[in-house]
């Protein structure tokens, strides 16, 4: 199922297949093809936190909604 990262189900693994053009995202390793795990979502417009290999990264709602992910089975 395709979704944006903000709607990702917490605790599941996803592969990123589309990201907006943002320098910081790609530098931190959030690239097309990368596999991530959705860790937490913070209510009332808060960010989503993910883990990407050994890193933990929090991504604001406004940009998480533009990152498209596919669930890894």
């Amino acid at each position: 199922m395709n979704n944006n990262l903000y709607q990702a189900e917490i605790g599941k693994n996803y592969t990123i297949f589309a990201i907006p053009d943002n320098h910081l995202l790609s530098c931190i390793g959030i690239l097309e093809g990368a596999t991530i795990k959705a860790e937490h979502r913070y209510g009332i417009g808060g960010p989503v936190s993910i883990s990407l290999s050994t890193r933990k990264i929090a991504i604001g709602k406004d940009i998480a909604e533009k990152i498209y992910v596919k669930e890894v089975n």
């Binding site: 320098h23 937490h40 009332i44 808060g46 960010p47 933990k56 990264i57 604001g60 709602k61």
Partner: protein, 596 residues
């Protein structure tokens, strides 16, 4: 100490015998730099402490080199100021690079190292945070890593200085070898990373290398990692974060008050001041001079009463507590937890770190906003700091003033401060054009600050405060003594009476607060302590001084970091708001009090 701003001083590129200190953000480069050069760079456990670069002398085998602490970047693609500087440095013929790898996140740092290696400069790598990696169950095969990368790799625990001698020795070897076989000319054209294929290639190669050299030993997460994760969950993370904030506040207020009343006040009132009273009374001098020296507002009385007994205890306690928060990695977690609220205000959670830094002193906080990705965010955060965030000296003075009367009054001023905070954010969000980027933040591992680094930082910060604040504070004290003891104050008070007494409802001599507040923020509060004010007067005086114009040092940093126009605009806006708000509060609350 030479901390240089990014834009200025192109000469640094021409320095001979350079060694670059590079690595991803928040990997402990500053600790390496401090130890090798004996110049203290402030290190913290979050991204972007080094927003300007620093240089210092590093002696290897008797030869002096200039070690340059290059700001940490995630890549070398010249899309941010820091990255541009890093690339320029690499193209300026450095002798070698000391690259710091993050053992706890090898993939990210190897990716950056691969980019660096393209430039054909001799590199020695330090595998730092190897203790955290071990804690997390990563076993790294160092010889294999050296082979994969083709450069020497030395495991280090920077905060404990483990592996530092080996680094210097290895750099010496590499530099000696370079003498014999000059390296190929550096290529400065590799700036394709982070764009499409190139970035992916680096990441892929980094992942392959990590796959070969790191063995994951299944390990139960340590207590510290469990706590770090807990702090990151919405529940109980937010409750824990609030608890930590409350405990920190309690520690600063409680211990600061204790230090003041048990140690410093008796020392000043029964020790130092009587000593000077005796000294001056034994000397023949005009009455006015005697008053300026040791009268009610005499220099040798108030400099100790205000600086030593009023400001110092809280500065010491704040630095002790805040350095712990910084080094532990709690602050970025708060940035994540409270991003939703900050986002509603038009900024993002990451700016919370700068704002909290501002509760110590506005100057480093405003410099820290350089890390902001847009101009608008920088201006908004700076405005919030100038309008609504009292520095610790001022907070200390406010605590002393208000808690004598009632802790409720302290709470009332705190809530008023929050209100001003929100209003400043909302208004500046409307007024300032542009946009603010959403939060993207790497969350560091939780660390227990290592004692030596922690105390060194504490002492450096306190020393810095003494060096930077002592001068302006003494100027304020001398001005206070002169205008109060020579009768000048009566004249000024008469002039400002309609404003101070009529509008703000304070005693006319409180005009001195408005004058001293121009120089230092706490100096606008200190004179109020001896004025025997009512609760309402204390509240109004506190609010005015809270919002009132930032001190001279802040004005200077605003003019330097932005321009004179911004500095002037913020000064005028804060002053006007402070006086307007103070008067309104005085009249409305006064009105209701008369009704009761």
């Amino acid at each position: 100490m030479s901390s240089v701003q990014l834009q200025e001083d192109k000469r640094v590129f021409d320095i001979k015998n350079k060694i670059l200190l590079m690595g991803p953000p928040n990997v402990g480069k500053s600790v390496f730099f401090s130890d090798f050069t004996n110049i203290h760079a402030i290190s913290s456990n979050y991204t972007g402490t080094t927003v300007s670069y620093m240089k210092g002398t590093y002696t290897i085998d008797g030869t002096e080199y200039t070690l340059l602490d290059v700001p940490g970047t995630y890549s070398l693609s010249a899309t941010s100021e820091a990255e541009e500087v890093a690339i320029k440095f690499m193209a300026s013929n450095p002798e070698a690079i000391l690259f710091v790898l993050n053992a706890a996140d090898l993939e990210g740092s190897i990716k950056l190292l691969l980019e660096v290696l393209e430039h054909n400069i001799p590199v020695v790598a330090a595998l730092n945070l190897s203790d955290v990696a071990a804690r997390k169950g990563f076993a790294i095969n160092v010889p294999l890593l050296e082979q994969e990368l083709g450069i020497p790799v030395i495991p280090t625990v920077a905060v404990k200085r483990e592996g530092f001698d080996e680094i210097t020795a290895k750099l010496g070897e590499v530099l000696a070898a370079k003498q014999e076989t000059p390296a190929a000319s550096p290529c400065a054209a590799c700036s394709e990373c982070c764009k499409g294929r190139a970035a992916l290639d680096y990441w892929e190669r980094a992942r392959e290398i990590v796959g070969r050299v790191v063995k994951n030993i299944e390990k139960n997460p340590s207590k510290l990692d469990q706590f770090g994760d807990m702090l990151l969950t919405p529940w109980p993370g937010i409750a824990l974060a609030l608890l930590i904030t409350l405990l920190s506040l309690g520690a600063v207020v409680g211990a600061g008050k204790a230090l003041r009343s048990v140690l410093l006040l008796p020392l000043v009132n029964q020790g130092i001041v009587p000593l000077f009273e005796k000294l001056f009374s034994s000397m023949a001098m005009p009455v006015m001079l005697r008053n300026v020296l040791i009268g009610q507002y005499g220099i040798f009385r108030i400099s100790f009463e205000w600086i030593l007994a009023l400001v110092m205890p809280y500065v010491l306690l704040f630095q002790l507590v805040f350095s712990f928060l910084e080094d532990s990695g709690i602050l970025p977690r708060m940035a994540v937890l409270f991003d939703n609220m900050m986002r509603k205000l038009g900024v993002q959670g990451g700016s919370l770190i700068n704002i909290m830094l501002g509760y110590g002193c506005a100057v480093p906080a405003i410099i820290g906003t350089r890390a902001a990705t847009t101009k608008k965010e920088r201006l908004m955060v700076t405005s919030i700091i100038c309008f609504a965030v009292p520095c610790i000296s001022q907070t200390g003075a406010l605590i002393s003033l208000l808690s004598e009367f009632s802790y409720w009054l302290l709470l009332a001023v705190f809530i008023t401060g929050c209100f001003v905070f929100v209003m400043t954010a909302i208004i500046s969000n409307k007024v300032i054009k542009g946009s603010v980027d959403p939060l993207i933040i790497e969350i560091p591992n939780l660390l227990i600050p290592e004692r030596r680094t922690y105390f060194k930082k504490f002492f450096v910060r306190v020393k810095q405060f003494m060096v930077e604040a002592e001068g302006p504070m003494m100027i304020a004290v001398v001005i206070a003594a002169i205008i109060a003891e020579t009768g000048l104050l009566q004249g000024i008070s008469g002039l400002l009476e309609p404003l101070v007494a009529g509008w703000l409802g304070l005693p006319p001599e409180a005009a001195i607060s408005l004058i001293l507040g121009i120089i230092r923020r706490e100096m606008s509060v200190a004179p109020l302590l001896a004025m025997d004010l009512t609760g309402l007067q204390m509240y109004v005086g506190a609010v005015v001084s809270l919002v009132y114009l930032p001190c001279m040092s802040v004005f200077a940093i605003l003019a330097k970091e932005f321009n004179a126009k911004v500095a002037l605009a913020i000064t005028l806006a804060t002053t006007a708001t402070a006086l307007l708000l103070g008067g309104l509060l005085n009249h409305t609350i006064g009105f209701f009090l008369r009704l009761v």
